[in-house]
């Protein structure tokens, strides 16, 4: 876990909190499941205005790392995190950090669309309601509409907001989950293989959506699909066997990787 010296250390490296600095900073992050080390000393800066993609073969630790960024690993029995992760210079593993608020600021979209078995409206309204973000009923309706519009779902569902969220198609469900995540106005959105359960057309819509959301939210996406990483991201990190092998501009990684392992993976020699 965190000690004060590490915080100071990290702050010394980036003393000024200005817009140019990364949204999230991970330094020497290791994750253990029981005795097993799933992630070894990963250091990454998550950019505020770019989409960052994590790629790598199955079991390489990219999803594990993603889940440390909003402390979803806390819910896994026996999971332990070492190192420091800062959000705007604030250590998210410090005891002063409220994990509930953290997860509102760092939202998450999961691999399998998981809308609540409630109405479409309730799905989106739930977050603002528990965080007290809406001042009135009409304000809440406004938030729901804005979120659904941003998620590109409004025109498809505006006439049936009271229908169950689980009755939507897979792609619509995933966009509903994105709408639900942005309804609480997060600063970062983590996406854990958001398109792996979707067909190509639904995938294209989600990718388009990621483009539109870029700039407003810092976005981190884990993907198996390298073409997708190339299409949607500006920064790419390649993980292998729990290590961060290479991290840099997406164009750089895909055209001119420094490491042979990265090159082998990208050219499809394994994975």
């Amino acid at each position: 876990m965190m000690t004060d010296t590490i915080v100071n250390d990290a702050l010394e490296r980036r003393p000024d909190l200005q817009d140019g600095m990364p949204k999230m900073t991970a330094r020497d992050v290791s994750v253990f499941y029981g005795d097993k080390k799933a992630l070894d000393s990963v250091s990454i800066d998550v950019s505020r205005e770019h989409v960052t993609a994590f790629i790598g073969p199955s079991g390489c630790g990219k999803s594990t790392f993603l889940r440390t960024l909003n402390r979803m690993n806390d819910t896994i029995v026996g999971a332990r995190v070492e190192g420091s992760i800062l959000l705007d210079g604030e250590d998210i593993y410090a005891s002063a950090m409220d994990v509930v608020q953290l997860r509102a600021r760092v939202g998450m979209v999961f691999q399998k669309p998981n809308p609540f078995p409630k109405s479409i409206y309730e799905n989106v309204a739930y977050g603002p309601r528990i965080h007290g973000l809406a001042t009135s009923r009409s304000h809440l309706e406004e938030i729901v509409e804005r979120s659904l519009r941003r998620a590109g779902l409004w025109d498809e569902v505006k006439d049936r907001l009271s229908e169950s969220g689980t009755a939507l198609s897979g792609g619509q469900q995933q966009r509903l989950c994105i709408a639900r995540a942005i309804a609480v106005d997060p600063e970062v959105i983590l996406m854990d293989e958001p398109c792996s359960a979707l067909d190509p057309i639904a995938t294209a819509k989600i990718e388009e959506l990621i483009h539109e959301l870029r700039g407003r939210y810092a976005i981190v996406i884990v993907t198996h699909n390298m073409q997708q990483a190339a299409r949607v991201s500006q920064r790419t990190a390649f993980f292998h066997l729990g290590n961060l092998i290479e991290y840099g501009d997406t164009s750089e990684i895909f055209t001119n990787p420094r490491e042979t392992r990265t090159k082998d993976y990208i050219t499809g020699r394994y994975g």
Binding site: R103, F110, N114, P115, I130, R180
Partner: protein, 429 residues
Amino acid sequence: MSDSLAAAPLAPAAPLTPTDWKADAMQRRIRRRYAAERRFRLIGLGAVILSAAFLAFLLVTMLGNGIRGFTQTEIRVEVDFPRSTLVLDPAAIEGFGAQAALAEADIEGIVLAAAEAQYGNLAPGLLSDGAWLRVRSRIAADPAMLNRTEVFWLPVADRIDVAAKGTGAAEAEAVYAQLRGAGAVRTGFNMNFLTGSDATDPTMVGIWGAFKGSLLTMLVTLALAFPVGVLAAVYLEEYAPRNRWTDFIEVSINNLAAVPSIIFGLLGLAVFLNTMNLPRSAPLVGGITLALMTMPVIVIAGRNAIKSVPPSIRDAALGIGASRIQVVFHHVLPLALPGILTGTIIGMARALGETAPLLMIGMRAFVATPPGGFTDPATVLPVQIFLWSDEVSRGFVEKTSAAIIVLLVFLLAMNGLAIYLRNKFERRW
């Protein structure tokens, strides 16, 4: 990885002969497979038919015996009040002192005299012991009848009632046939059975007292076992760390669910009656004792229901910043509720049919008035059935079956409610 796969040496290829799908051995295998499937289907069908037959047998026997318990034979008795020996002023029955005036008057005597006047030597043992009570309550309701001749339909004695239903002694049946020929008897629905309480005379007994006792006891059981059981299940599933202590608690709860019910009765007797001095025979104590028995069932069912809520729902709620308690109460519990309710109803149904522990805490007493509250002496349906089945008088046989029908209807209503609630709360995801 493909590199290592390609490098792996291939096994030497066996000489391949094409499979002959038409060969005799193949045909035999197909026939055996079909025979096995047919056999299994027949066995399954047999099991279903056998259990359906058991159920039908139970229902037919109970209904056959019990329906008669809901009817009652009444005899026509004409009482000429002005000419009777009754000394009772209609005015005395209005206002205060009415109870005392009625209690002092020898109503039983004039009813018996009237019966004797009408039926002569048949009269002794014709009327139910409690028949005159009906006359008394009619007088109390309408004192003016003391100035005229009034016709009453009064319950006949047990032996005539049984004879009317075709199962009595030869001598009683002869009497009944004679009365019927004279048009002096009728058989109708026995309202008293649904509104009365236990009595010594089978023609006067009612099930309401035991029914109300069961209802009150179940309320106490539900009020204690449901919240405690659900909260324990939630804590064990969602909050408790996995260690040796929680393992121990889990094993203990599973064992508690299997403890014979009479042990809980002894516990209730020792703790609630002897140590805490709670009232004997009361629904309160019965309810607490049954709650101890029902709680582990609810905990086990609740844990299974909570476990079956998909983790993706928890992730979704946690992912937008819901706290643990919000996740549990907004998402997990509503989804687990159908399963929890099903388990609760199963536990409650078991508690409703439970006799042994209640015998231990004195709920087997003769209680002639319905309980007014949770601390009044009461009995419950299964204990009432047990008590009546023990009676000597022939009339109690059908009352026992009738009480069983009431108990089964109660159970059916509870199960129906469970199915309704489950369908109401069931959601797909």
